[in-house]
C-alpha cells in the first residue's frame, strides 16, 4: 500500500508527532493553540506501532522555545518535535521534563491552598520512576499522572 500523509505537510513550522491520542486536547490547551492565529492542522486516532493510537499537530510558522515545548513533557513524554523549513525536517528535538512546573497543573489535594485562593500552582517534578510525579510547593503533597488535571486558561 502506498504511504500517504493523513495530515498534510507544512512548509515551515513545527510538527508534534507521537502524541498519545487521548492527550491531544490537553497538549493543545497547554500550548495555548486555541488562541493562536497560525495555520494549524491536526489528526488524531491515527495508527501508531508505538502508542496504539496517536495524534499529530502541525503548526505553520511557529517555533517554540524549549521552556514552552517542554511543558507538554508531563503528558506526552514520547512526543517527537520536528522543526520544518521548506518541507524538510531541519531539526529534531527531544522533550525533557522541566525541573519545575508553574501554572499548568492543578494540585490533586482538595485541602491545598491553591485550590481555594487565586494562586499560581508551583510544583517540582520528581523523576525517580518512569512516571513523573509533581510535588506541590505549597501543601507538599504529590500529584501523580493518573490524577493530573491541566488548568485550562482558555
Amino acid at each position: 500500500m502506498e504511504k500517504q500523509l493523513k495530515v498534510s505537510a507544512i512548509k515551515n513550522g513545527t510538527v508534534l508527532d507521537h502524541i498519545p491520542a487521548d492527550q491531544l486536547f490537553k497538549v493543545i490547551d497547554i500550548l495555548g493553540l486555541s488562541r493562536s492565529g497560525n495555520q494549524i492542522t491536526f489528526g488524531t486516532n491515527l495508527e501508531s506501532k508505538l502508542l496504539g493510537k496517536k495524534a499529530i499537530i502541525k503548526i505553520s510558522d511557529k517555533f517554540f522555545k524549549d521552556d514552552d515545548i517542554n511543558r507538554i513533557a508531563l503528558i506526552a513524554p514520547q512526543a517527537k518535535i520536528n522543526i520544518i523549513h521548506d518541507f524538510e525536517v531541519v531539526e529534531k528535538r527531544v522533550l525533557s521534563i522541566p525541573a519545575s512546573i508553574e501554572g499548568i497543573a492543578k494540585c490533586m489535594n482538595p485541602a491545598c491552598v491553591t485550590n481555594h485562593q487565586n494562586i499560581l500552582t508551583r510544583f517540582t517534578t520528581i523523576t525517580d520512576s518512569p512516571d513523573v510525579k509533581l510535588l506541590c510547593r505549597y501543601c507538599e503533597k504529590i500529584t501523580d499522572l493518573k490524577n493530573l488535571k491541566i488548568i485550562s486558561k482558555f
Binding site: 485541602a111 491545598c112 491552598v113 485562593q117 501543601c139 507538599e140 503533597k141
Partner: protein, 303 residues
C-alpha cells in the same frame, strides 16, 4: 539561616541544634525582654489552645507586644478578604507573623507574600514545625541526647502530621524506629522509602505490647474517629491502641511517653502519675522552643 519556619526541613541539623540550645537557655531564665520594641502578630484562622497560648506566652516573655486574632470570624475574612491581602496588611503592622490556617500550604504562600518572618503554627494536616522542635527538645531533655535512640510511634501514623515531621527531624540523629499502628493507619510508603534511602532501620507491628520494653521514647498519637468509615472498626482500634499503667512494667527506666495532646483515651489516666509520663511537661517545653524560634527568626543568635 532561613527567614521563615514553614516546614521542619527548612531548618538544617545545625539550625535545629541551635534552636534547642537557645530553648535550654530560655528554660533556665524565661524572662528575657530582648524584643521590647517588637510587635508580633498571632493570627489564628482556626481554633487552638496550646499552640496559640504558648506562642503568645513566648512573645510576652520576650517583651514583645502581641496583636492578632484567634478566630477568623470577627475579621475581614468574613467579608471575603483574600489570604494575600490579610498577610500584606499584617506584615505592615508587625515584625513577625505566627499563623495557623486550615488550608494546607497556606503558610508557605503567606511567607511569599509577607515582608516579615512567618512561623507556621499549623497549616491544616500539612506541617506544624514548632511542635516538632518541642518534641525534639523534650526528647533531648529526657534522654540527654538525640542520637541512637529507639523511637516507637503509636496510633495514627497515616494522617498524623506530628509523626511525619518528627520522623524527618529525627533522621538527622541515627535513630531506630518502631511503627505501631492498625493496618488502616500504617506509616505511608513515602516515609518508609525515605528511611530506606537514609539507611535508617525500622520495624512495623500492629501489637502495642510488643514494642514497649526496648523503647527509649513512645510517641503516642490520637486515633481520630473521622479517619474511619466503619464505626465498629474505630471502636476496636481505639481500645487496642490504649496505653495502660500495667503495660509499662518492663519498660526501660529512661523511657518517656510523649503525646502532642489533646489526648482522649489512647493513654489511660492511670499512666499520668507514672515516672514514664512526660506529655504535660512536653507541652510546657513549647514556650521555650517557641521563644528560641522567634529569637532566631528576628535575627538574634546569642543571648
Amino acid at each position: 539561616m532561613p527567614k521563615h519556619l514553614i516546614s521542619i526541613h527548612d531548618f538544617s541539623k545545625e539550625e535545629i541544634l541551635k534552636a534547642l540550645s537557645l530553648a535550654e537557655e530560655f528554660e533556665k531564665n524565661p524572662s528575657r525582654p530582648i524584643f521590647r520594641d517588637k510587635v508580633i502578630a498571632s493570627i489564628f484562622f482556626e481554633p487552638s489552645t496550646r499552640t496559640r497560648l504558648s506562642f503568645e506566652t513566648a512573645a510576652n516573655r520576650l517583651g514583645a507586644r502581641v496583636i492578632g486574632f484567634s478566630d477568623a470570624g470577627n475579621t475581614s475574612v468574613t467579608k471575603g478578604e483574600t489570604l494575600k491581602d490579610t498577610i500584606k496588611m499584617v506584615s505592615n503592622y508587625a515584625d513577625l507573623i505566627v499563623m495557623r490556617h486550615p488550608l494546607e500550604g497556606s503558610a508557605r504562600y503567606a511567607s511569599e507574600i509577607a515582608s516579615v518572618p512567618v512561623i507556621n503554627a499549623g497549616d491544616g494536616a500539612n506541617q506544624h514545625p514548632t511542635q516538632t522542635l518541642l518534641d525534639l527538645y523534650s526528647i533531648l531533655k529526657t534522654q540527654g541526647k538525640l542520637t541512637n535512640l529507639k523511637i516507637n510511634m503509636v496510633g495514627d501514623l497515616k494522617y498524623g502530621r506530628t509523626v511525619h515531621s518528627l520522623l524527618q527531624a529525627m533522621s538527622h540523629f541515627s535513630p531506630e524506629f518502631l511503627f505501631t499502628a492498625p493496618e488502616e493507619l500504617k506509616m505511608p510508603n513515602e516515609y518508609k522509602e525515605y528511611l530506606n534511602k537514609l539507611n535508617i532501620p525500622f520495624r512495623e507491628t500492629t501489637n502495642l505490647e510488643e514494642g514497649i520494653s526496648d523503647s527509649d521514647i513512645i510517641y503516642m498519637t490520637r486515633v481520630q474517629q473521622e479517619r474511619f468509615t466503619d464505626a465498629i472498626e474505630y471502636e476496636r482500634v481505639k481500645n487496642v491502641y490504649s496505653l495502660r499503667q500495667d503495660m509499662l512494667e518492663n519498660a526501660k527506666p529512661n523511657m518517656k511517653i510523649l503525646h502532642p495532646l489533646p489526648r482522649v483515651n489512647e493513654i489511660s489516666q492511670d499512666v499520668d502519675n507514672s515516672k514514664h509520663a512526660y506529655y504535660f511537661d512536653q507541652a510546657g517545653n513549647g514556650v521555650y522552643t517557641r521563644m528560641a524560634i522567634i529569637t532566631m527568626l528576628l535575627g538574634v543568635n546569642e543571648l
